[in-house]
């Protein structure tokens, strides 16, 4: 559904941000894009909704070349939530922020009304309906950004560092709704340094270093590779680390509950 074919991208300042990228993202999957600072993750994501076009090579989305379709028509199907909420929010009220994309992409007024109400309530923003987005806390701004994008019901959701500035309670809420959206058939792409957050989602993992894709695969396989972790400034999630150090052969647990059960079972207590 999303295909990168020999993609290179050179910034206006002459620096090559993407090198020979070949990548295929399948529909209805959760994907994680990881790697150290300044390694090209955000640049790659911006090629998916056509905000950036390859210097050479091609990006195909839903079978169409991004060089030949407008960003607007791609955005309807691919929603992107930026790392810095302040770069995204611009309307005078929370209500208008959510309505902006919806008005552009949806014509049926009943659907529009339903989706607006849904976005407002699902993200606990009802009480701020007439408040300026600038007055919200960092965590609330992030929720508003996601709500505004999900309101127009895109098929693909790209989240750039969604957990920065979120406390544990908000992170767990986010984990649940990402997993629910995926079950409803949406394709999710998450850029994040927060590997403990990604771990329970069991995403397909794409590791980048210096503009190149180093490896793609299951999170367990990627994070078992010591040499790769050293090269890419990544750290092993604690549950996988524990499983490897204890030399347990069965599939590592996704969360604490699974880990507790497994340990008790193996230990026969």
């Amino acid at each position: 559904m999303i295909e990168f074919k020999n993609v290179n991208y050179i910034h206006v300042n002459g620096i090559q941000a993407l090198k020979e990228i070949n990548l295929s993202i399948k529909p209805k999957t959760i994907n994680a894009l990881v790697g150290s600072n300044g390694t090209g993750k955000t640049t790659l994501a911006r090629h998916i909704n056509g905000l950036l076009k390859p210097t050479s090579g091609n990006v195909l989305v839903f079978g169409k070349n991004t060089k030949k379709i407008s960003v607007a028509s791609l955005s309807k199907r691919i929603g992107m939530v930026f790392q810095n909420s302040n770069h995204q929010l611009f309307a005078d009220t929370v209500k208008n922020e959510i309505l902006f994309g919806l008005n552009n992409f949806e014509t049926d007024s009943q659907i529009k009304k339903n989706r607006f109400e849904w976005a407002l309530n699902f993200f606990d923003l009802k009480k701020y309906e007439n408040t300026s987005p600038l007055k919200l806390s960092g965590g609330e701004k992030k929720r508003l950004c996601i709500a505004s994008v999900l309101a127009w019901n895109p098929e693909v959701l790209i989240l750039d560092e969604p957990t920065v500035g979120q406390d544990q309670v908000q992170k767990e809420k986010m984990l649940k709704f990402i997993s629910n959206l995926n079950k409803q058939g949406k394709t999710i792409i998450i850029i994040s340094h927060d590997l403990e957050f990604l771990w329970p989602l069991k995403p397909n993992t794409i590791v980048m270093a210096k503009g190149r894709i180093k490896k793609t695969g299951k999170m367990t396989d990627i994070f078992s590779d010591d040499e790769l972790l050293n090269q890419t400034c990544l750290m092993r999630p604690q549950l996988l680390d524990l499983w490897m150090k204890l030399n347990i052969k069965e599939e590592p647990p996704g969360d604490i509950t699974e880990a507790t059960d497994a340990i008790r079972r193996i230990n026969g207590s």
Partner: protein, 285 residues
């Protein structure tokens, strides 16, 4: 009598001019010399206000209702000038771009020293030793905008360390860094603390990076201190742990297993501790 504590809050409360409510309420706290202390709590609980009160930004820059006393290395914050406090305590901001501003990193590092009236020979020595300590000699003549986030963070730290503060205050220093770079950064300041003696107060959301090396974990909630103890004690025995605190995965696993009557001989903070404990129990042999 030798004073053990270097930072002391006595019945301290503060309300910003613009607010109706007190953001910090009757804080009593002592931080000992050369300790590394983590400050945690949900957003808006008063962490930044507490830090500002140590370096004197409160009350000298931010006005408001001020009750009680804060004593920093025997100076009463309210009674002395902010410049006197600057010699005692250095502050590294969350966003290094708020901090580094000169046209080269070298110039940025000497800026603080020049203001303190340091001689040229000493300045040269200090700059060289700080650059080599942080392994950023190659950045000396670079401009701030040429640096990556991790390098900026180190440059900001270098400028503060050059002044050799007794107290180092770090406000979410690793939020922009990838996991390995974040750990390197924490290890550098911790090694330095041991080598030259320094008290460190750090606000850090990724507790897994710091619980292994910290002496105390203080939790603030609604302007009050609800926990102040050894991190192991807090993470494992506290009933006050509010859900907003990002308790490391391994500590949550430990709590869960302990709850289901799993006997542990030692308190566990890291994966290494857990592995040792499991091996002792001949787990999976």
């Amino acid at each position: 009598m030798k004073e053990k504590s270097i930072i002391k809050f006595e019945n301290f409360s503060f309300r910003y001019d613009s607010a109706n409510e007190f953001i910090l309420k009757n804080i009593n706290l002592e931080i000992n010399k050369n300790e590394l202390v983590i400050l945690a709590g949900p957003t808006g609980c008063g962490k930044s206000t507490l830090l500002r009160s140590i370096i004197g930004l409160i009350p000298h820059m931010h006005g408001g209702e001020y009750k009680g006393r804060v004593i920093v290395d025997q100076l009463v914050v309210n009674d002395v000038k902010i410049t006197d406090l600057a010699k005692k305590a250095g502050f590294v901001f969350q966003n290094p771009e708020n901090q580094i501003f000169m046209f080269s990193i070298e110039r940025d590092i000497v800026f603080g020293l020049e203001n303190l009236g340091t001689s040229r020979t000493i300045m040269k020595e200090r700059v060289d030793s700080i650059l080599s300590l942080l392994k950023i000699e190659h950045l000396a003549t670079k401009a701030p905008h040429e640096l990556s986030d991790g390098e900026k963070q180190k440059a900001a730290l270098a400028g503060i360390l050059a002044m050799q503060p007794k107290i180092l205050i770090l406000d979410e220093p690793t939020s922009l860094l990838d996991p390995k770079t974040a750990i390197d950064f924490i290890n550098i300041v911790n090694d330095l603390r041991k080598k030259i003696g320094m008290t460190i107060v750090i606000v850090e959301h990724r507790l897994d990076l710091v619980v292994g090396i910290a002496d105390k974990l203080i939790i603030l909630s609604n302007g009050k201190i609800i926990e102040n103890n050894n991190p192991k004690q807090v993470l494992h025995y506290s009933n006050q742990l509010i859900p907003e605190i990002g308790i490391p995965v391994i500590s949550r696993l430990y709590r869960n297993l302990a709850k289901s009557n799993y006997d542990f001989d030692n308190v566990i903070v890291t994966v290494k501790d857990m592995v040792k404990e499991m091996r002792r129990k001949k787990f999976n042999d």
